[in-house]
Amino acid sequence: MSAPNDSPGMEIDLLKGSTRSFRSRVLLAQETWIALAILVLGIVVSLISSKFATPGNLLNVFQNACFIGLMALGMTPVIISGGIDISVGSILGMCAVSLGVVLNADMPLVVGILVTLLVGIGCGAFNGAIIAYINLPPFIVTLATLSIGRSLALVITNNQVFYEFGQATESIIALGGGYSLGLPNVVYALIVGVIILHFLLTNTRWGRYLFAIGGNEGAARLAGIPVDLIKVSAYAFSGFMVAITAIFLVGWLGAVTNAIGTGYELQVIASTVIGGASLTGGFGTALGAAIGALLVEVIRNALLIAGVNPFWQGTFVGSFILAAVLLERIRSLRR
């Protein structure tokens, strides 16, 4: 059934994404600005010091950024749904400690990986279940599990450091610290993670419902979306990405201490927000989270290389968070 068209040409542009051209959409994207910031920062620092733009240092920056980046990918769906997970550092501790315990008991790597994934997903789902079904604020719930997780990591290890991984010693170190085709393995993990999360967010019901819940939870419920279940899945996904991070990080460090991951939550949330996710929910991209993580790491590294007292790092990262939030505000005015 189609009524006669009263405005000519209406039909043609009805299906176009927007009146804005591809170029102006790229210019409006937060990812573009962050990438530009990384480039400018990189050029400035390499003018100051020849140590920055060496292959060794750049690979190092990349590798460090990947650990935070993987966790930021996990944080993205949570933030899109209007939540927050500040327990990721402690979940990382739990995952790493579990991996250490299992491998220390001379279990094969596969078992270690499976246990780590289960612990990560379990911790995330626990957060999500309390948030969704008991309806407590995400900030408070994950603040509690931040404390619980770190404490349990201490209890499990009894303040021991694990560096004996039995039969899996070589394989875990090769996985987490190794290279493939000239790049650290964790870089591939991040790239695959970005592609998969981008697909999930833009092309599946799960992604669509996350955005809907973050945009208007009441509307999502009226539309018959299983809001609570989707929320639990978002936190479980965050836990899953933390577990993946733990596996690579333990392999790279070659040891597990119970302090592993302490304070990571701030860097992870900073990366996600700098990458364009809105803490009020409803916006965020996979690529943004990864690029945000890279920027945070470039700032840290650049300050070190430039010989700035490392005590200043927090000030710079904090300023970039503020700048990112301001940028988002300006963009939303122009929308």
């Binding site: 059934m1 189609s2 009524a3 068209n5 009263d6 405005s7 209406m10 039909e11 542009d13 009805l14 299906l15 176009k16 994404g17 927007s18 833009t202 092309n203 599946t204 019901r205 669509r208 955005f211 809907a212 973050g214 945009g215 208007n216 009441g218 509307a219 999502a220 009226l222 539309a223 018959g224 979306i225 409803g282 916006f283 929308r335």
Partner: protein
């Protein structure tokens, strides 16, 4: 001709409070019914009874001659009774098409995966907007839209579900004059498509511009039910305030 919906002698008590007192109402095919009354007159209770949110304490409810009992809004929706909420049901951060299909997305198979069929949803949404003669673009974000376009999105949602009765709760409250005109035009489109619309409004001019019939509630009772051309804004105002007892 059997009315589309017939409510007879509906009573609804909330404890000691009688919210609806022996209300009978017919809703005919393809008519726009204006439902007016002061706050607490029983409009919302009546609408919620029609939409299945409330079960009447006593009285009968027929749809095309068939008795119905709704245990929730989902039951009513299955029978083609949809409510357009003013702000509740729209996600600003999604596109118009995404909102129209929210919860009932079209999917397509790509290898082993089932993915959102953006193209088909945009095309179908564009058709619905064209039927409503609204210039809403399916792929635009709702947060960039006017109040009228947002209403079009909410109404298009109900069209997707093959609705028969659309209940609109204060759709013209808190929007600009130009947008009010857009919404009223949308209501006329729905009528042309053969839908029945129940318009709950405080705005006298809207009701007199677009409705075929006006029903006035006061203190849980129906005090007027007449063709719009046999009434006047003055009379309706009198009925709402109680200056005129019954008409």
């Amino acid at each position: 001709m059997t009315p589309l919906a017939r409510l007879e002698h509906i009573v609804k008590d909330f404890g000691a409070v009688r919210a609806l007192d022996n209300v009978s109402l017919d809703v005919h095919h393809g008519e726009v019914l204006g439902l007016m009354g002061d706050n607490g007159a029983g409009k919302s209770t009546l609408v919620k009874t029609i939409a299945g949110n409330f079960q009447p304490t006593s009285g009968t409810y027929h749809l095309e001659g068939k008795p119905v009992t709704f245990h929730g809004p989902a039951d009513a929706r299955r029978e083609g009774i949809e409510v357009v909420y003013q702000d509740l049901a729209i996600c600003d951060n999604l596109t118009a098409a995404a909102n129209v299909f929210l919860g009932r997305e079209m999917m397509r198979q790509v290898g082993p995966l089932r993915v959102l069929d953006h193209r088909r949803m945009n095309i179908r949404a564009a058709e619905l907007f064209r039927e409503l003669k609204s210039e809403t673009r399916p792929a635009d974000l709702v947060l960039r839209m006017s109040g009228g376009q947002r209403q079009a999105v909410a109404i298009a949602r109900t069209r997707l579900a093959k609705s028969r009765i659309v209940l609109m709760d204060e759709p013209t409250a808190a929007i600009s004059v130009r947008q009010v005109a857009e919404v009223l035009a949308l209501i006329r489109r729905m009528k042309e498509q053969g839908l029945s619309v129940i318009l709950i409004s405080h705005r006298m001019p809207d009701v007199f511009e677009v409705c075929d019939r006006v029903v006035v509630m006061r203190r849980g009772r129906k005090v007027a039910d007449k063709p719009i051309e046999h009434s006047s804004p003055e009379e309706v105002t009198g009925l709402i305030t109680g200056a005129i007892q019954v008409a």
